[in-house]
């Protein structure tokens, strides 16, 4: 691996680092691209879902007989159509999942645990008939008291969602069940000793609300199961292989029986890493022997797919008057939704990770409540815990009269720092992003009346994982790339660029596609900012293998030994000999039939060595003190990408993450009524930012190469959603001279704080 980096550092890059048009661009802007709901088949049925109207209820009985009699109804499934599983934890990217819970989230069994929980599904010849059938299904519920907030759920005597849930991670294990699924703790040193050495200690509680990823494309799929049990599934997902494995387990298929094809994806952000409709559509198709298409509407996306946690967090930081942090401590209580698995582990691991600390502790609790089960959301868990820590850091900077960037620089993590979650860090760009922020013109620009500037940093791990891709050299000299990680941020362009750089042929001759689950070995999903890092590594490896093969073919044609041939700018070149002799890739490809057959290569590996990415954001806000409205006046996102393969798409990730963070900070929240019903199930009242809410997000890409990737890639997708929450809260606090500790900073909440403190 290190050798690969060496090679690339020594040669000037021609394609990597440039900004070509993306291969999927024309289809996207002309409407030709096929998304989850765009595929249809002859004789297709429409599937619809019956959902629980109650936040917490025992399911006494389900009578589907009347619905089955309705003309046009072809299949109905309930929990009896799905096998049960013992409790078994399976890693799924940055989250852990449990098959016992997954089958219950896909279809409620003993109880409905949130409003919108699936209770039954119908396939019929039209949507109208399917809707009528839902109304004919008779479900008898016994309504139970529900609980929505972590502080209520953890109290003794709170309504229990799962009466067998014994908290993991507490010694000795509690004797009775509770809603606290697990306790985690990370850190080292002696925090009490650290606090005793501090000149100033700031301690504060924070609240964040449950927020949704807000992808524009609702979940959708098309399933077709034949009479002999062969299944085709077309769906919008970040991981077709993961979908295949979940569905085969849930439905008792083997992996070879289900072929999953990922459609183009209209946003995922972590939310399309689990299954909701897919097993239902397969079960309905298996029962009816007809293709079944299912789509969620927007309200279903909000009530029944996975948002991320709302949380209560407590942060305490001690500091010397010179800015040296002596100790950091935090307690994080995250909502898991109806089943355990809040991203509190990663939240606790990265809470203090931007800093080099001697005494640090982060304790987290994973708490179930009667809300939809959370799914991954861009740096799952990170924005919440780091919001608390970065807010306290800012308060400290004000209290000790230090510039907030200088305070961070004084404590910044660097190569060799022991991260609070254990490992010694390799080269990372915390200091570099802070220095870039400090020297950026934005940081010293004058501010207007009622305006203030906020700063915050963010850390995210990034991951590698199981990856498989292949390259084919076509007989006309063009190149095909088959990739297994769906393209959610321009990765097809980046992969084609890396192959183009290696081969020395123009990118336009390279066609990258996302393969189905039968075309490659297992690929873990696109998530953890891993696609350009992991799939990029396999693409470079397989391209180099293809080049070796191309050289072999040239050697055969020239009748020389392989070591006499080198690869240079798209050509095989004879090293020795009287006159220079070259043969282009196209010439070799044309004769492949004569020299041993088609040329292709693949690379399958478990990619390791992901490099954490750090970011620092600067934001100027203006606060209308009469209305509580906060306007974002100027925004600059600075981030270490390792190496930007396609800088425009790296900038796009930084801008997109910043905007999602702005939404989280300013207006987004799930609003429940006293019955546990979600009141804002659409984009009108679940306020993601619109274009006019945000200024152009300025970006600065810092490049501290990751030594474990051939071009130095770290992965950039997740880090940029972390800093906005604290950066904006810090700016609003500075503008109003009041410390804000609750999100979202919506106008009513800001005005209430200004009026009442």
């Amino acid at each position: 691996m290190n050798d690969m980096t060496q090679t690339n550092l020594e040669r000037a890059l021609k394609i990597v680092g440039s900004r070509p048009a993306r291969p999927d661009g024309v289809d996207k802007v002309t409407g030709r691209a096929l998304f989850g709901a765009d595929k249809s088949l002859p004789n297709m049925l429409v599937g619809r879902v019956l959902r629980s109207p109650y936040a917490h209820a025992k399911i006494i009985s389900i009578d589907t007989s009347k619905a089955e009699e309705l003309k046009g109804v072809k299949a109905i499934v309930t929990s009896t159509d799905f096998e049960d599983f013992p409790s078994e934890f399976v890693p799924n990217g940055e989250m852990v999942v449990n098959m016992k819970d997954i089958t219950r989230n896909v279809m409620a069994r003993e109880k409905a645990l949130y409003v919108g929980h699936t209770v039954a599904a119908v396939a019929a010849t039209s949507e109208d008939i399917a809707e009528q059938a839902l109304a004919l299904i008779d479900v008898t519920y016994e309504v139970l008291p529900h609980v929505l907030e972590v502080e209520d759920a953890e109290k003794p005597g709170a309504p229990l969602l799962h009466d067998d849930m014994i908290t993991i991670g507490i010694e000795p294990a509690p004797e009775s069940a509770s809603n606290v699924a697990k306790r985690v703790e990370f850190g080292f040193g002696d925090v009490e000793k650290g606090f005793s050495e501090a000149d100033l200690i700031i301690e504060r509680e924070f609240t964040t609300q449950q927020v949704h990823q807000g992808y524009i494309e609702p979940h959708a799929c098309l399933a077709s199961v034949s009479e002999d049990g062969q299944a085709e599934l077309w769906c919008t997902t970040q991981g077709p292989f993961v979908v295949r494995n979940f569905c085969s387990k849930l439905l008792g298929f083997n992996a070879a029986q289900i072929r999953v094809t990922a459609s183009e994806i209209g946003g995922g952000f972590g939310g399309k890493t689990v299954v909701y409709l897919e097993p239902l559509a397969l079960a309905l198709s298996r029962k009816s022997c007809r293709p079944v298409k299912m789509e969620m509407n927007r309200a279903e996306v909000f009530t029944s797919s996975g948002p991320t946690s709302g949380a209560k967090i407590w942060v305490k930081i001690g500091v010397k008057n010179n800015g040296q942090i002596t100790a950091g401590d935090c307690v994080l209580k995250y909502q898991a939704g109806a089943f355990q698995g809040a991203p509190v582990g990663p939240g606790a691991m990265c809470a203090f990770a931007p800093y080099d600390l001697k005494n640090v502790r982060a304790v987290g609790y994973d708490i179930v409540v009667n809300r939809p089960k959370v799914a991954a959301y861009r740096a799952p868990g990170g924005p919440i815990s780091e919001y608390g820590v970065e807010s306290v850091i800012d308060e400290i900077a004000i209290k000790i009269g230090m510039d907030p960037i200088d305070l961070r620089l004084k404590n910044a993590a660097k190569e060799g720092t022991i991260a609070p979650y254990g490992p010694k860090l390799g080269p990372i760009g915390m200091i570099e992003t802070l220095e870039a922020a400090k020297s950026h013109p934005h940081y010293s620009a004058p501010l207007g009346p009622n305006q203030a500037r906020g700063v915050a940093s963010g850390f995210w791990f990034n991951i590698g994982g199981e990856t498989s891709s292949s390259i084919t050299i076509n007989e006309d000299g063009t190149v095909g790339l088959t990739l297994g990680t769906p393209d959610i941020g321009g990765s097809r362009a980046s992969m084609a660029m890396m192959a183009s750089e290696e081969l020395g042929v123009p990118m336009e001759l390279i066609k990258p596609i996302i393969g189905d689950t039968n075309s490659l070995g297992f690929n873990f999903l696109t998530g953890g900012s891993r696609a350009t890092f992991s799939t990029g590594t396999t693409v470079v490896e397989s391209t180099r293998e293809a080049i070796e093969e191309l050289k072999k073919r040239a050697a055969l044609l020239w009748e020389v030994s392989l070591d006499q041939v080198e690869w240079f700018e798209g050509h095989a070149r004879l090293i020795s000999g009287d006159e220079p002799k070259t043969m282009s890739l196209a010439q070799i490809a044309k004769q492949a039939g004569k020299t041993g057959g088609p040329i292709m290569a693949n690379c399958s590996m478990n990619v390791t060595g992901a490099g954490p990415s750090l970011g620092t954001h600067i934001v100027d806000v203006e606060v209308d003190e009469e209305t509580g409205q906060v306007s974002i006046i100027r925004y600059t996102a600075i981030q270490d990408a390792g190496k930007a393969i396609h800088p425009a798409y790296v900038e796009g990730q930084m801008q997109g993450g910043a905007v999602q963070g702005i939404g989280w900070a300013l207006n987004e929240e799930y609003i429940y009524n006293e019955k546990g019903e979600l009141e804002n199930t659409g984009f009108l009242d679940y306020r993601i930012p619109v274009c006019s809410d945000v200024p152009m997000i300025d970006t600065v890409i810092v490049e501290v190469p990751n030594p474990n990737h051939p071009y130095g890639v770290r992965g950039v997708g997740e880090t940029p959603i972390i800093p906005p929450l604290a950066a904006i809260s810090n700016a609003v606090s500075r503008a109003t001279n009041k410390r804000f500790d609750e999100l979202p900073l919506s106008p009513p909440k800001v005005l209430a704080k200004l009026m009442h403190g």
Binding site: T627, S631, L666, R687, V690, S692, P748
Partner: protein, 284 residues
């Protein structure tokens, strides 16, 4: 579901009398309600071909705006924009550019939402509407139409044919502001429309402030004449306006705002619209 396109006002009224008949103008409310199954009409009566219901024109004593005229057409009418900038501000806040290509004043009024943007502006401008029915046409002040959320004073078979706005006398200005958590594509937490006229000495000769989204219907503030007529606005009178606006609020607490917040904002927007309208009036 039947769809009919009457060619005369009488045909339209006869169709609308029938059980389950709904009027369709721009459709920006009705189509959404159909899609979400909030309503299931037996008949949709497209009223856009009724004479006079489309278009905006200057009349002898002011303006005629057909009830089914798309907002975008009104916003593009230069001399109307000069006369009633506050009304135009309100129209251009409805939905989005695309929505304004279809949305109408008649629809905005008859949807009877307390948060409708155009309604407080039209009421503050002392607009009236012409109502067409089976046996007669009648003219009513706009504030008489909405009686509670989702309910109007229209009788069976009646529909709004159009709106009349006076020609503003010299020294008149109007303004509309609404508060939304976002910058656009949202629904008013509070809306305020204000119209004032001044004499040559910049003393106020008439004032009307109408608030939206702070009670079941739009509210016209009472008692402003005693405070403002014959004077220029000052800190004292503006503070009184804020108190009157706050006192007039009977808001609900919902997902869009608390009672306290709506009340406070009603005062802030009354003050701000008065400032803008007064500025416009003195330059008119």
């Amino acid at each position: 579901m039947n769809y009919v396109v009457p060619k005369t006002a009488l045909e339209a009224s006869k169709a609308l009398v029938q059980e389950g008949a709904f009027a369709l103008a721009g459709g920006t409310d009705l189509l959404v309600k159909l899609k979400t199954k909030f309503v299931s009409p037996s008949m949709v009566v497209d009223i856009k071909q009724v004479p006079k219901i489309m278009g905006i024109e200057a009349t002898a004593d002011g303006w005629w705006i057909g009830a089914a005229t798309p907002c975008a057409e009104i916003v593009e009418h230069e001399s109307f924009c000069k006369d009633w900038p506050g009304v135009v501000e309100a129209l251009s806040l409805i939905g989005s550019t695309q929505i304004q290509g279809r949305a109408t004043l008649g629809g905005n009024l008859c949807n009877a939402s307390p948060a409708a943007d155009s309604v407080p502006a039209l009421i503050s401008a002392r607009g009236t509407c012409i109502i067409s029915g089976q046996s007669r046409e009648r003219e009513e002040p706009i504030e008489k139409i909405v009686t509670s959320p989702g309910v109007t004073a229209l009788e069976k078979g009646e529909f709004i044919l159009g709106f009349k706005l006076p020609k503003p006398q010299s020294g008149t200005g109007d303004a509309y502001l609404r508060l939304i958590p976002r910058s656009e594509m949202d629904i008013a937490v509070v809306g305020a429309g204000t119209t004032v006229s001044v004499d040559k000495n910049k003393k106020i000769t008439s004032i009307r402030v109408c608030l939206g989204a702070i009670a079941p219907t739009q509210i016209v503030l009472d008692g402003l004449e005693d405070i403002f007529i014959g004077k220029e606005p000052d800190e004292n009178s503006i503070n009184k306006l804020v108190s009157i606006a706050e006192a007039a609020c009977k808001p609900i607490k919902d997902k869009r705002g608390t009672i306290e917040y709506r009340t406070k904002i009603a005062g802030v927007l009354s003050k701000r619209t008065l400032t803008i309208a007064y500025e416009r009036a003195t330059n008119h």
